[in-house]
Symmetry: C2
Subunit: 352 residues, 2 copies
DNA sequence: CTTGCTTTTGACACCGGTGTCTTTTAGACG
DNA sequence: CGTCTAAAAGACACCGGTGTCAAAAGCAAG
């Protein structure tokens, strides 16, 4: 009448129990667990049966110790956008689902001057096989060097190539921003405003580049008073909106470097009685939940964040993930973002 | 010229290295690490110095093995609201910051019929000390029983007491919804609509109860056509808005069971040219980022999710967290939500 | 039936810590 | 100064796996 399936006294069965039941040595059981090739079919089946009977699950701590390597990968982020983090995380979990790996999630405090030290302590204690760095901390070169020094593999996720392909997953934001802007131009917009992301962020710089390039292609330039600084926060969008929409000749369209700021600009437009998209077209970036939760719904750029999670995990630990996870030699680490057109974009009113 | 601080050949120093350097046995080092009381001050200092010199960090896997217990806690969630998950997670991390514990985050797929099995596999493999269950899966009794069976401590987070205090952290949503509704009534609203959360969700039921109770207190009742079903999604808000705002006598205020649905209702109002808050007051629930990213900003109920994370972690593993983490005997596991009033609420126009 | 080789399997040490029990040391006391 | 006791430190097994290398088994050829 033992309450538990196997083992004794409510404890988990160990490799020794399995070995005893199957009538082999524990090393043989170990070979079965690790799919060693030097084992006869007959023995393998016997051991597998014993494993099933007992409901044996190898102790990951013991394996980690014996292998001198544990089966953890870490996700480091300081991302203000929760949805992004969770989507990426989901992609990583998709990728490691059938492996022995587990995921450790670690938010880091970018502001803190102890950040590097904190991360070092974390990595030294947990000793993950590898770490994935989400933007914006992925842009921190010291962090990458720290991983290198500690012998922890790493992958940096970014809006542009931050490192060599082995250490990098990114999306083609610049191009897609260009596409979005070309769409505005095609609709007849000529006065197009720009709200920038925070200084020092690579992603912000990329988006600005994409914006300016598309303008230049069309022979347009960005007027100084059509440019507003920002920091990816809603309040910055409010400020930018106040600035750009108070002009004597306000822009007929504004590209905002993320959705939150676009939402801020949109609030200002509503407050001023400016019709969106009739009098003002708006485009954001991220395709965050906000983009579809505001009215009118926001045209934006969606980056394939979940897929990037899968890719990052594979780049990091393909050798742990079974054959399907191999990334073909020389394949680009750049995944495709897409421009998503919604209600907030239309041809400009009046003179087109 | 060794590249690394301590150890040999780039490897981490072990307890043996420390013991050798300090001239004591490894057991003595172990005693220092674990703050054993049977150790002389002199020895402790010597060992501590050796630890510092070598930069020794105990191997968590080895400790886990020797202790027959690892130092992981798990966070299980299937939460559609990323911000909530991340905030809660942050609270947990605050709580375990100075401990040896690490956090494993595990999204689960509620829809899947293999859900329980997946979780079982996860728990058996990782063997965390405890698990925290976020709503809505925290409402699943089978899951709680599974934890119990596996000897994994657990804490269920919910909008109401789901279990005894030892296994529960919640907030007083019902009361605060009542407070919000009383505010509407005080402003003069009499026709108040309600958009419900998904059937089968405890949180949805609590919010509805709070709503109806407050109405009843004031001698009002919820007219059938002022009630709309929902599922916490934006699209349900759209549908609810279409329904409620097409009435001959539409409500002058609507309580929505979460912010996303409120955003949906607000979109419909904008589309119909109904002024918010002039002609329609709106209240949501969650205080999600959306609440401040829409225009006008949304009055809502904020639940202390980060603090709940701290509390959940303490409830789960106070004995691992140092003296500050003790929860006084008999202290209620109910934390306080608050009503946050923003722009979306005002006295009704015209007849008040 | 040996021999010689390859394939399978096992014995035993080891990964880096902790538990138990024993031995040593230090201090109190007669 | 010897004795007794409590505190401190150490020896050694052990947690549950894997690596190494030697031994056993299987098989073809002599």
């Amino acid at each position: 009448m033992a309450a538990r399936t196997g083992g004794q006294g409510g404890k988990q069965p160990t490799i020794n129990d399995v070995a005893a039941l199957a009538g082999v040595s524990k090393k043989t059981v170990s070979r079965v667990i690790n799919r060693s090739e030097f084992i006869s079919e007959k023995t393998r089946l016997a051991v597998q049966k014993a494993i099933e009977t007992l409901g044996f699950v190898p102790n990951p701590q013991a394996r980690a110790l014996a292998f001198r390597r544990n089966f953890l990968i870490a996700l480091l982020h300081d991302n203000p956008n929760a949805q992004t983090v969770l989507n990426f995380q989901q992609g990583v979990l998709d990728a490691i689902k059938d492996s022995d790996l587990a995921l450790l999630v670690r938010p880091v405090d970018r502001g803190s001057d102890k950040m590097l030290e904190d991360v070092r302590t974390f990595l030294e204690k947990q000793r993950p096989i590898g770490a994935m760095l989400l933007p914006p901390i992925s842009e921190n070169d010291e962090l990458a060097r720290l991983c290198e020094d500690l012998g922890v593999r790493y992958v940096r996720v970014g809006s542009a190539l931050l490192d060599d392909a082995k250490h990098c997953v990114s999306s083609n934001d610049r191009e897609v921003v260009g596409e979005a802007v070309r769409r505005l131009i095609a609709l007849g917009h000529r006065r197009i405003g720009f709200v920038r992301g925070p200084v020092g962020f690579r992603s912000a710089a990329e988006r600005e580049k994409g914006f300016r390039e598309a303008l230049a292609e069309a022979g347009l330039t960005l007027a100084d008073d059509h440019y507003a600084p920002g920091n990816y926060r809603y309040t910055a969008g409010i400020e930018a909106g106040e600035k750009l929409l108070s002009l004597a000749e306000p822009p007929t369209a504004i590209f905002c470097s993320n959705d939150e700021m676009a939402a801020g600009v949109m609030s200002v437009a509503h407050g001023k009685g400016i019709a969106v998209p009739g009098e003002l077209s708006l485009i954001g970036f991220d395709d965050s939940p906000t983009a579809t939760h505001i009215w009118p719904t926001l045209s934006t750029v969606r980056w394939p964040i979940r897929e990037m999670g899968v890719r990052a995990a594979r780049t990091l630990v393909a050798d742990f993930l079974g054959s399907g996870a191999r990334i073909p030699e020389g394949e680009s680490p750049v995944l495709a973002s897409t421009f998503v057109e919604r209600q907030s974009v239309a041809a400009p009113d009046g003179k087109g």
